[in-house]
Amino acid sequence: MSFVDVIWLIVRKDLRVELRSREILYTTLFFALSIVLVFSFSFVRAGVAVEDAAAGILWVAIAFSGTLALGRAFERERQNETLRGLLMSPAERPALYLAKLIGVLILLFAVELLVVPLVALLFQAPLFLYPFYFAGLLITGTIGFCAVGTLFAAMLGRARSRDVLLPILLYPITVPVIIAGVRGTAALLQADADLPIARAWLSMLVFFDVVFITLALWTFEAVMTE
């Protein structure tokens, strides 16, 4: 079985399981919407949002709901010891990591598909004015966040206090992703969109993704074996 076949097999399996109940999808989506709402109350005054609030709220929603999705996805694995089963299979570890990453990404992109238009609507934010830049930021940012998150969630699999440890570990390390996402999006939302800055943030995100996916692939085996 080729490398790509293994990945595809696992992704398909995860999607099939998820589509049966859609539990993670619905709960994550609703959670993201709640976040947007709660933060809107914090940052909107007399019907007008604080400057850059839209960008900030969007990325906070992605980060928080992403953490939730990651936790839930691996909790499901843990409950049936299926991760251990996968690890014992002859499947290459990098394939496992990538398959898990792709699975979580699909989920988060689905959530973003709904949250982004909502934020655009609530804050009259012209998020689609520069669609390629914005999509670039969104995709690379989500990938960066999930690249680190997938590794951490997997390694915390059977650790004690894993529910609270995942956010504790994940947020400080993904600070650059959040900063880049928010500032990049804010640059696009400005009245006079600052494209060079958005490009700079986009480049950083691409670089971050490459470095950290590589790092995760490199350490996945070492971290997961007893």
Partner: protein, 218 residues
């Protein structure tokens, strides 16, 4: 314990005894006056923190791939020292900033980077403390990721904002300020080495205890 420990202890103690003379004798900086003297310990504490972070990163990498217990001891000792020296830096910074810039915290580039790195190592320690068995390995991954993150954090926070004295400050210091600065830094780095040795000794003894427990249960 290591034969170098006692002489090093004496040297470092002497350096710390001498430092106030050097610092007191250094000239006042023209606009900030007395409060700038915090700088000598502030800068030195950061140097100590970098050294500790490097130690933790290195130890984490070696432990993750070679499973050498001593590397893990190095990593956890380094992480604790990052937190200790970091606290010193993070408190002396705002104290200085309050007088020099008028506000306690301004989200300045370098200060924020330091804060984020400090948080990463606090999370490392929390993982080790509350993660249950096997958390040394997981923490090693966090340490390694933290190390690789340094340039990204620095770059992104800097593009976000900056107010710090430019890096050119240190080379352009007059000799009268340079000497107490490098002296304090050397003293702090020496202190770092001492504390590192102490902390690693603790880890080694804990490992010995583990072995004894296992031996007893046979």
């Amino acid at each position: 314990m290591n034969k170098l420990f006692s002489p090093l202890l004496i040297v470092i103690a002497a350096m710390f005894a001498f430092a106030p003379f050097l610092i007191g004798g250094a000239p006042y900086e023209s606009t900030m006056g007395l409060v700038q003297k915090i700088f000598y310990f502030h800068f030195s504490a950061w140097m100590g923190m970098f050294a500790a972070a490097a130690a933790c990163g290195w130890g984490s990498a070696v432990y993750l791939f070679k499973r050498r217990k001593s590397a893990d001891h190095l990593a956890v000792a380094g992480a604790e020292l990052v937190v200790v020296f970091g606290i010193i830096g993070l408190i002396t910074g705002p104290l200085w900033g309050r007088k020099a810039w008028g506000v306690w915290w301004t989200w300045d580039g370098r200060a924020t980077t330091a804060l984020v790195m400090w948080l990463i190592f606090v999370s490392y320690l929390l993982l080790r403390r509350f993660g249950g068995p096997g958390s040394e390995r997981l923490a090693a991954a966090v340490g390694l990721f933290g190390m690789f993150n340094v340039p990204f954090v620095y770059w992104s926070v800097n593009l976000w904002r900056t107010l710090h004295p430019k890096t050119t400050v240190v080379p352009s210091l007059p000799v009268s300020m340079g000497t107490p600065l490098w002296f304090s830094t050397a003293a702090f780095l020496g202190l770092f080495a001492l504390l590192m040795a102490l902390r690693r000794r603790l880890e080694e003894r804990r490992a010995d205890l583990e072995t004894l427990h296992l031996a007893l249960e046979e």
